[in-house]
Subunit: 385 residues, 2 copies
């Protein structure tokens, strides 16, 4: 598999009361077109990741909104898999190119979450879990991940509270160096530990925020990418699913779909985990990042904590993780997150990640999760020589 990345565009993430759903999407779309140096009419198909616009804005049918924004009448669909929607749109765009249906594809992700109160957003997000078994009985996403954190830390006590907090500290350190980030602010382990308890052991600073934002990426076929001199290729795509509810899950100390998606993507890309130079992973909660690095094979199961003992995951460390600031600091506009991850890796491989640039990176990976692990999607990016 080889699909070229022609251009990327992203809005500032945050509480964007200055722009609505449509305007955020348009802003990212225009930026990716400009970055790719193509016109809207050059796009053959559009794939759009969005999770919550139905419940939150009363607006479904985001595919048609994306083409209306560009005044074109091309095929355009919305793809949804909860918080993995952005990656699923990316994968759908790749499938379109690989099938020959399209030569140039625009993949967008957008979410407008701050126009409603936090309770309404939290209720919408619970649609990623099992409404009958979990939501109806009062569970929320912080609650679900707290169950995972407790199970994990009981089995693997070497993941201390301080090391868990270090995930958030590192992501804020990166976020402070990223202009499109929601919280450009460094924090300490004490900031995390002393913040409001949300769901024991997870405090406010263990949790990713509610965010508005949009991200857009232009993909093309291998031959067209060569012709236009694209500097980054996507060489592997893996997707796996699992039960919606934790109650039906085989394990609470790992996210098996993440591991399966990674194995599938690596096999397609013909790489091993040791070939990976950096990754953007799904840290919706700090514990999720620990499980993510293990799923990606960057640490053995139960040993993820080791990466957080010696600043290995900082942008100038051995295996940089979430140089964008991750979901925690950069923000988590759910449908946009998977596309943002792809953009951050692309910018790193292109040498455009000013202030947080990873040196000599050749292979980057994105890891995006839906729900408490019911969907996981992994993509492998390669710098073109």
């Amino acid at each position: 598999m080889n699909v070229g990345v022609l251009g990327v565009g992203i809005t500032k993430f945050g509480e964007r009361w200055d722009q609505g759903l449509r305007e955020l999407l348009l802003d990212a779309q225009i930026k990716s077109l400009k970055d790719a140096n193509i016109e809207a009419k050059d796009i053959d198909s559009l794939y759009n990741g969005n999770m919550g616009a139905g419940p939150l804005s009363g607006q479904l049918h985001i595919g048609a909104m994306a083409t209306e924004n560009l005044n074109i009448d091309k095929p355009s669909v919305r793809v949804e898999g909860a918080c993995a929607s952005g990656s699923l749109a990316l994968r759908a765009g790749i499938e379109a190119i690989e099938s020959g249906v399209a030569e140039i594809v625009q993949v967008n992700g957008v979410e407008k979450m701050t126009d409603v109160d936090t309770g309404q957003a939290t209720t919408m997000l619970m649609g990623a879990g099992d409404e009958e078994l979990e939501g109806f009985n009062g569970l929320t996403f912080p609650g679900l991940y707290a169950l995972l954190a407790n199970a994990y830390m009981h089995k693997y006590p070497k993941l201390t509270r301080d090391l868990l907090a270090e995930v958030s500290v590192k992501n804020h350190f990166h976020g402070a160096r990223n202009d499109y980030c929601q919280f450009k602010k460094e924090i300490t382990i004490d900031t995390v530990k002393n913040s409001t308890m949300v769901a024991d052991p997870l405090t406010l600073f263990d949790c990713s925020p509610i965010t508005d934002g949009a991200a857009s990426i232009i993909l093309t076929s291998e031959s067209k990418a060569k012709e236009l001199g694209a500097k980054v290729s996507i060489i592997g795509s893996g997707l796996a699913t699992d039960t919606l509810s934790l109650a039906r899950r085989n394990t609470l100390t790992a996210i098996p779909a993440g591991k399966k998606a990674a194995e599938s993507a690596y096999a397609q890309a013909k790489i091993k985990s040791t070939d990976i130079n950096l990754a953007e992973v799904h840290d919706c909660f700090t514990i999720a990042e620990i499980m993510a690095v293990e799923a990606l094979g960057l640490a053995k199961e139960g040993e993820g904590y080791k990466l957080y003992q010696n600043k290995d995951t900082y942008f100038d460390g051995r295996i940089p993780i979430n140089t964008s600031g991750g979901l925690k600091a950069c923000g988590h506009p759910v449908g946009a997150t998977g596309v943002k991850q792809a953009i951050e890796i692309t910018m790193q491989l292109q040498g455009r990640a000013k202030g947080r640039q990873v040196e000599n990176a050749k292979i980057g990976v994105t890891h995006n999760v839906g729900g408490s692990g019911a969907t996981a999607c992994v993509h492998v990016f390669k710098k073109v020589k």
Copy 2:
């Protein structure tokens, strides 16, 4: 393009208070597997059409629900484009097979609409239009299609009230002969004209109902289809978009996206409109069927009424339309409708449409619309010799 149809499964459409979202989906999934004579583990990928489960059931992430239902961990995503979601899932499944990502795909569509009051369902459906320009200002879908009907009947007065009503009469005639249909009941032109006014000129019997239901279809590659002896192939897929709102649309007397999607699908299938033996079209309102037959090139623009003067569109007529009963009589569980259309055409081409069988049909077409025409998707099916 050539993708084989291996099997189909559909639930009874209607007010299904005996089954929830998950059970309806499972029922259809099991039926298509059985019909295809394959096991769940044989499926490589799943594509799932659903529009309203987020707003109506608090359940997003339908992709993972579909794999959980079958106890498999394969790639599975939800695809949404309002009332065209089912066709978009079908098209995504086709793209996956054509790209080589998957050899056997299950495409599902599901909607659970009757657990909420009609007002809540109507509000959700308005998410298919433009929330800011239309929904916020009080328009509903019957209102939007009434605007189209008035504009059309003003420009083309030969479409009389009686001929418009005949669309519904014919669809109920077909529906009365279809076991999975919501309203198995014949009606007369007077039934339509004397029913409650919904949005002038559309009365209750001009409008498709609120419906629960699910539909499932198994697709495979051309070579695998040959090996397994599939009797029906999909040979063309067209998708086009337009503005979300009618206010921004270039015309109110046609649905241009439908025409564009048809042209694109016919070109791929290498057929002309005169090659078509039957079609399932998107009659969410009676006026929509008139615009649909024109978009498909079965009548010239403004002359769709002619097909309804002489029973041409009955199952034993010259060009049978909506032998399933259409959205009007068969029911319109929105995310399932596009898949149901594909199933009806498949069953017709296989000679399994007992009681409404079209004789000697070789080419059948499905036409599925999202919103008031912002998305239109057309597929061409061929009987394999």
